[in-house]
Every structure is written in structure tokens, then in C-alpha cells.
Amino acid sequence: MILLFIVLLPILAAIAILFGAPPRRTALWAAGFTLVATVLMYLGFEAGQRGFQAVISFPISSDWKINFTLGVDGLSLMMLLLTAVVTFAAIWFTGKITQHEHAFYACLLLIAGGAFGAFASLDLFFFYAFHELALIPTFLLIGIWGTGNRQAAAWKITIYLATGSFILLLGLIMLYRSLPEAARSFDIRALQKTAGLIPAEAQSNIFLLLLVGFGILVSLFPFHSWAPEAYASAPAPAAMLHAGVLKKFGLYGLLRVAIPLLPGGAERWNTLLIVLLLGNIIYIGLVTIAQKRLDWMLGYSSVMHMGYIFLGIASGTLLGTSGAAVLIFAHGISIALLFAISGEIRQRTGTLVLRELGGLGKIMPRAAFAFGLAAFASIGLPGFANFTGEVMVLFGAFRNGANPERFGIYQIAAVLGLWGVVISAVYMLRAYRRVFMGPALESLSGATDLQRSLRIPIGMLVALTLWFGFFPQTFVRIVTPTFKSYFTSKP
């Protein structure tokens, strides 16, 4: 029941706002209540148990065995927690909206509602449909309230995501059809029991479709070009929600659907995936260094970090896969904070071109401190959850078939992946120096520091990433039961 509340409250609040409820207050209360509900769920969750908890189900189509089923296991619980925290922060960070204030908050809540629904759904049909619910709100958010070349950015993200989604849809229908008549279902629980029934040829085809479909949604190289542009143009709260939460849908989908149900397909295409994710880490990493604007740099950095999560998914070990889950969470928090601060800087200085910024640390000390923490987290300094995730991913990938005499593709990928850490240190620290260090530019002297009230969302985000950085076992213990069943034959 509480799960239904979490999924429906943001959507109902969005509808209420469209019908004239006071936008900011309604949105903040709705986000606050869902956050409280999610935390209650987290506290009441019985870690270490396999299977799904708090399951609730309504029949939709008996011909297709589609049911509106909600439920959580450790993995989806952490995704819900991430969504709740980032949504709350994004709405809190929303500044003054000059036009269509109602529509703005409604769109934000719809994106959040779509993410909640997708992560809580146990039925593939609704898992897919909820994600798509966010498509038009995203289009409108970037198109109406965006900055820079917002039109092109809005078109690009919409058409990319729509194409990716339909490829994904074909994959899901094929998955459904590849099963014998009696076993057909869209229910993830039922599908998990039928994993062995899909013929090898079909597994390979379906996995490729799912990989491309989910890959486009997560900006897997070379389908990434929508992401930096969209995040640079989007208003800060939209970028926080999309880069922090919604984009993770594709990774969650791979972890939830593609890897457990199509192990043969995963094996067949792993080499391709590793080549592509190294494109994310190395190529996009270098592209990130070359950026001249803070927002573009953050956008590219988020594309680059997807490479690590993909590496964890491709690693084929319990350690690496759990690391991917930790990293999804950690990256969601750190990128949301980075986009939030850069949005505040844009509001106060009117520019995000690195050359035109400098010395903001003296003018905006609070912003500099928060950005610094988020940047350190994003690089993956020890103590932050990102570090935990990256270490787990890299060790996990390295361990797959490790043989001291001969490195395989997993070991090479892990070695090259380590280079990525250096690359991200280069661009993050460079950007930090450019923006916050040095003498304060005269043109920026009018800027003011963050309001005191913003300490609450910032503190919340930082505390969470530090907590899971120092006590990763609290996180890992919750997600591993989900993954353990994937690797029964492997260490």
C-alpha cells in the first residue's frame, strides 16, 4: 500500500498543480511525503531476504497476463530512495519560475512519478510505460524553460529517447514471445523462473535489442550525443532529475531484466559492451577535458561515468554487479548536486563559460564548499560512495577469469578504467580551479552566495553519499540478495 502511495502521490500532485493548487508548496509537500514514505520503507525493509516485499497487484489485461504489480527488493528499494532524495532536492532547488510556474512543477513531478513507477513496477509493461511517462515533460522542461540552444537540445533528447524506447519495446515483446505459451508473462517474478526456457539464438537477438535500447537511454557510447546537450540546456532541477535518476532506468533495466533473464545473450555480447563502455570512459573522458563550459562539462562527465556502471554490469561477478548498483546511487547523488550548484551559479552570474568565471570561492563560499564536495565525490575520492562503487566495479571486473599469466578483456578493461579516474580528476579539478579559485573577477562581484535554506537539500545529499561511502556494507547488504541468484554458478 505504501508503495502505491509513493508511486501515485507525485502524479496526483502534478495533476492537482495543473488544476490550480499552489505549485511550489504542493510539490514540496508531495516530494517530502514520498521521501518520508520511502525512508519508512527502507527502515521496514527486511534485508537479506530474497524475493520481493510489499507486493501489490491489480489485473489489467488477462489476454496478455499484464498486471499492475508493484513490489520492491533491495535493488529497487535503493533506486526508490535515490529518486525520493533527488526529487526532494530538485524541487527545493527550483528557484523563481517566471512563466508557467504550474506547468514547471507538474512536469518535474511527472518525471519523478515516472521514475518511481518504473523502479517499483514488477511488470515489464508498466516498468516500460512509467519510464516513457517522463518523455513529454522532459521535452517541455527543456523546450520552455531551457537555456542556450534549447530547441535543438529538446528535439534531440526526445527523438533519441523515443527511438531507444521503441527498440527496447521490441526487445521486451520479443522476450515475451520467445517463451513457450504457458510460461508467457510480463511479471518479472514469473520471468525469473523461466530463464532457462529461452533458446540461445533468441537470447542473443533479444539481448542486443535490449542493450541498444537501454544503451540509448543511458547514453552508452556511441548513442550518447543527446545527453550533454540536453543537460546543458535543461533547467537545473530537470537536469538533476534526469541525469541523477531517470537515466539510471536503463542501467536498472539491464540489471533487472537483461542480465538475469538472458545470460546467454549477455555472454555473447559482453565483448561489444566492453568496447563501447571503454568508449564512454576514455573517449568521452577526453572530450570532457576539452569542454569550455561548466554545464557541458558536467553533462559529458555524467556520460563518462556511465562507463563504470556498464563495466560493473558487464563484469559478470557479484562484486562488480553490486558495485554497479552502489555507483548508480552514488553518481545520482553527486551529479544532482553538481547540476544544482552550477544552476545556482548560472542564475547569479548569468554565465557558465569557464573563461568568464573565476574566484567565486570568495564570493560564494557555501557554493564552493558544496561543489567541492560533489566534485570530490564524482572523481571518486575515498570516503564517498562513488569510491566504494568504483573500487567494487574495478575489482569485480578484474576478478572475472583472472589469470596472472595472461590478461583477458576484463583485466584490460579494468586497467583502462583506472585511467578514467585520472581523467575525471583532471577535468573536475581544472573546472574547480577555474570557477572558484584565483582572484575574483570584477564582472562577478554582484553575485551572492546560496541562501541558507539550501543547506538542507545539500546537507542531505552530502550526508547520504558520505554515509554510504564510510559504511558501504549498509548498502551492499541490501542489494546483494538480488544479485546472488544471478551468479549461483560463479564465485
Binding site: 489476454d63 511517462l133 523546450g143 523515443a162 515483446i173 514471445r177
Partner: protein, 474 residues
């Protein structure tokens, strides 16, 4: 209480005649009452359709039931035709002032009565067509539909574009009728039958020459291709759709097309024993998908955009035809009915104030948030966003294609869906991003608002809970 199926058509016919009589003998009344009469009459027939007795299960060898059926598909499409006509009549009430302007008449209401009566007769034709299982019956009902459309398309005859549309429709429609009759004679010549079930039996006989029968079928396909606006028989669509009075365009693109698909489903059934048939249809589906979607991309006039979009949707429906997926087609048509009529309904009220170009919708969200919202739902559904009926329609169609391993269709389908997102969201962009040219709210009558709300509700309800439609076909 139970009723025999053909009584529905007779009732609708009587409603039409009644409206016509009142129009002829009572000049002084407000002609809009006629429209309301027709709407309530049709609604009553719609209710009555739920108390039907089914037709005899086996095909009678002679007599009435050898050319008329009341199977679930037929009943389903009778209701479909009734709902379409009701919504079109609501739109026509909104459109009445424009008709008044463009008719030379002695009174200020001249011509309105016929404008409201003709769709009722078209509806009779559509309902017969849904039940037709004999080529002669198909031909006659198709002609009844087409005849009333000849008049409707060129109804606002002072407008040169409308006249052009009328002439184009007349000539090409007559040509396609010629193809239909010619095709039927070939099939009759080979099999000696006009009843579809008996043609199927005759064709299954290995002794029969399939070549001439196939030739006849291709001719029939040409005629039906014209009705459903499939490439390469789509040339008339953009001009006629743009020129015709908007409610008539809506009627053409929903009613006429749906009837075409029902007939196609029935007619093709016996011919699918011939392997060449599938290839012909496959090519047609591919061309229609590609042409409709690509040509829609650069359009700046919304009415014309919807014309190309109707070709594009014919493409998706043809994918269903290739896979002979009756259920998927039926569901898609229902979704198509709701979303297309909704977009035309909004178009009519907005066009009265500004115009029917996409840029006339600029800033509509500020002027009339409800209309902008309705249009957004319609466009989202046309593009195929989940939780709308249009998405589930595509879902079922793609599923049918996957089941039949039509890889080419799937690849092209994904590309065209992406195109669709571009041109449908173009309208959304105009309404929400662009600055408004005027800030006067668009006036909206109560009944139109009610009809639009009903269509929005229908789109979202079927997008979440499709089972009622699937059950209705069983």
C-alpha cells in the same frame, strides 16, 4: 429484449430520413436542433446495439444471411461507426457558422439541414459495410458511403480549395469504384461466386487457376487502397483533406478508413491461401509507412499534417493486415478514432479564431489551457506515448509483426515512430513554447468541451485498461 441485427441500420436510416423531412418542412426552427436530434438518435441506436441477437453461426447458402453477417467484428464496427458519427456531428455544430458563410441561400440557415443529415446516411453505409460478406453487398454499401462523401467534401462550395477537393475526390473515387467492379468480375469469373466464404472454398481447390483470381484481387486492392489511403493510392489525400470542411475531413479519415480496413480484413481472408498476396501487401505497408511519415515531417499546416499522419497510420494498420491480426487492427482503429477525432475537434475550434496552420496554435497553452492539454493528449497518443490508447495500438501491431517475423517491417516501423515523435511534438511545441499572437481565449461550447473530455478520458482509459475492447471482439 433482443433485436435482430439489421434493425440497427434501419433505425439509423429512419433517423436520417426524419432529419431530412424536418429540414424540408420546418424552415423556421434552429437547424442545430436537427444535429442534436441526430446525435441523440444515434446514441439510442448505440445503446440498442448491446441487445442484439447474434447471427446464425453457419453461413446460410442463400437468402439474407448469405450476404449479411452480425459476427462480433461486424457489431464492433457498427458501434465504431455510430460513435464516429456522433463525434463528427458534434464537430459539425461547431463548424456550422463557416458553412453558413459559404453557402448562397435564401435564408441564413440554408444548407445546414443537409449538412447534418448526410453523415447519418454515411453512417448507414458504414454499418452495412461492417456486415457485408458478399462482394455485391460490399460494393453497394461502399457506394452509399462514397456518394454521401461526394456531397460532404464539396459542401462549402464558395471556397475554391473545397471545390478542388470535391472534384479530386469525385474523379479518383469514381476511378477506384471502376477498379473495384472490374476486380469483382474477374474473381466472379474464376470462382463463380460473390460470397466471400464460398470464394475461399473455391480458391482452396487446387484445380482452380489462381492467376486471374489474384489479378482480380489486386484490382480490388487498388480500390480499397484508395479508401484507406495506402501508398501508391494516396495522392488525393492531402488536397482533399485540406480542402474539405474539417468535420468531413475527420469523418473521411476515421470512418471511411476504418470501413476500408474492415472490408480489407474480410476480403483478404480467402485470398491469403495465395502466397503472393502477402508480398504485395508487405510492399504496400512499407511504402505507406515510409511515405506517410517522411512527407509529414516538413508540413506547416495542421490539417495537411493530419492528412499525412492518416496515411502514416494506414501504414501501421497495413502491418496488422500483413499479419492478419484482426484484434490488433480493431484496437488500433479505436485508438485512432479517439485521437484523430480529438485533434480535429480542437483544430476546428482553434481554426475558427486564428487559422489551421501550426503557427496559429502558438501560445495556445496561455490562451486556452484546456484545448492545449486536449491537443497534447491527442498528439501524444498519435505519437505513441504509453498510458495512451495510441501506444497500446502500436504495441499490439508490433507484437503481431514480431509473431510473424516481419523484420523489415519492424526496422522501418521503429524509424517511422521516431519521425512521428518529431512532427506530432511540433504541434506541442507551438502550443507551449512559442509566444502567442493573440491573447483572446478560444470560445468553446459546452457540448464540445464534454465531447473532448470524453475523448481524453477514453484515450487514457484504454491506454491503461485495454481489456474491454479486446473482450468486445470475442
Amino acid at each position: 429484449m433482443t433485436i435482430g441485427a439489421p434493425i440497427l441500420e434501419i433505425e439509423v436510416l429512419l433517423i436520417g430520413l426524419f432529419v431530412l423531412m424536418v429540414e424540408a418542412f420546418f424552415e423556421r426552427i434552429d437547424k442545430r436542433t436537427l444535429a442534436f436530434t441526430a446525435i441523440f438518435g444515434l446514441a439510442a441506436v448505440l445503446v440498442a446495439s448491446f441487445f442484439l441477437t447474434p447471427s446464425p453461426a453457419d453461413v446460410a447458402t442463400s437468402g439474407f444471411w448469405s450476404f449479411y453477417t452480425a459476427d462480433p467484428l461486424a457489431i464492433f464496427f457498427k458501434r465504431f461507426a455510430l460513435v464516429t458519427t456522433i463525434f463528427v456531428l458534434v464537430m459539425m455544430i461547431d463548424y456550422a457558422p463557416i458553412v453558413r458563410e459559404s453557402i448562397h441561400g435564401t435564408t441564413h440557415q440554408a444548407g445546414l439541414g443537409e449538412f447534418f443529415a448526410l453523415p447519418v446516411f454515411t453512417c448507414v453505409g458504414l454499418m452495412w459495410m461492417a456486415s457485408a460478406i458478399d462482394f455485391v453487398m460490399i460494393f453497394v454499401s461502399l457506394e452509399l458511403v462514397t456518394m454521401s462523401f461526394y456531397v460532404l467534401v464539396s459542401f462549402t462550395r464558395r471556397n475554391p480549395a473545397t471545390l478542388e477537393a470535391g472534384v479530386k475526390y469525385l474523379i479518383l473515387s469514381a476511378l477506384s469504384t471502376g477498379f473495384l467492379v472490374y476486380g469483382i468480375t474477374w474473381i466472379f469469373g474464376v470462382t463463380g461466386q460473390t460470397n466471400l466464404a464460398r470464394i475461399a472454398v473455391a480458391l482452396a481447390d487446387p484445380a482452380i487457376e489462381s492467376g486471374p483470381a489474384l489479378f482480380g484481387m489486386v484490382l480490388v486492392l487498388v480500390a480499397l487502397g484508395f479508401k484507406i489511403a495506402a501508398v501508391p493510392f494516396q495522392l488525393w489525400v492531402p488536397d482533399v483533406y485540406q480542402g474539405a470542411p474539417t468535420p468531413v475531413t475527420a469523418y473521411l479519415s476515421v470512418g471511411s478508413k476504418a470501413a476500408g480496413f474492415v472490408v480489407l480484413l474480410r476480403v483478404l481472408q480467402p485470398f491469403f491461401v495465395l502466397p503472393q498476396m502477402e508480398r504485395v501487401l508487405l510492399v504496400m505497408a512499407l511504402l505507406t509507412l515510409i511515405y506517410g511519415n517522411l512527407a509529414a515531417l516538413p508540413q506547416s499546416n495542421l490539417k495537411r499534417l493530419l492528412a499525412y499522419s492518416s496515411i502514416a497510420h494506414a501504414g501501421y494498420l497495413l502491418v496488422g493486415i500483413v499479419c492478419l491480426a484482426g484484434e490488433a487492427i480493431a484496437f488500433y482503429l479505436v485508438a485512432y478514432l479517439l485521437m484523430t477525432l480529438l485533434s480535429f475537434a480542437v483544430l476546428i475550434v482553434v481554426a475558427k479564431q486564428t487559422g489551421d496552420n501550426i503557427e496559429d496554435f502558438n501560445g495556445l497553452s496561455k490562451r486556452s489551457p484546456f484545448l492545449a492539454f486536449a491537443m497534447t493528449i491527442a498528439m501524444a497518443s498519435l505519437a505513441g506515448v504509453p498510458f495512451t490508447a495510441g501506444f497500446l495500438g502500436k504495441f499490439y501491431i508490433f507484437d503481431a509483426a514480431i509473431r510473424h517475423h516481419q523484420t523489415t517491417l519492424l526496422v522501418v516501423g521503429v524509424i517511422t515512430v521516431a519521425c512521428g515523435f518529431y512532427y506530432y511534438l511540433k504541434v506541442v511545441r507551438a502550443m507551449y513554447w512559442e509566444a502567442s499572437t493573440s491573447d483572446v481565449a478560444v470560445p468553446l461550447s459546452g457540448i464540445s468541451r464534454f465531447a473532448m473530455a470524453a475523448m481524453i478520458g477514453g484515450i487514457i482509459f484504454l491506454g491503461v485498461y485495454p481489456q474491454p475492447i479486446l473482450d468486445a471482439l470475442k
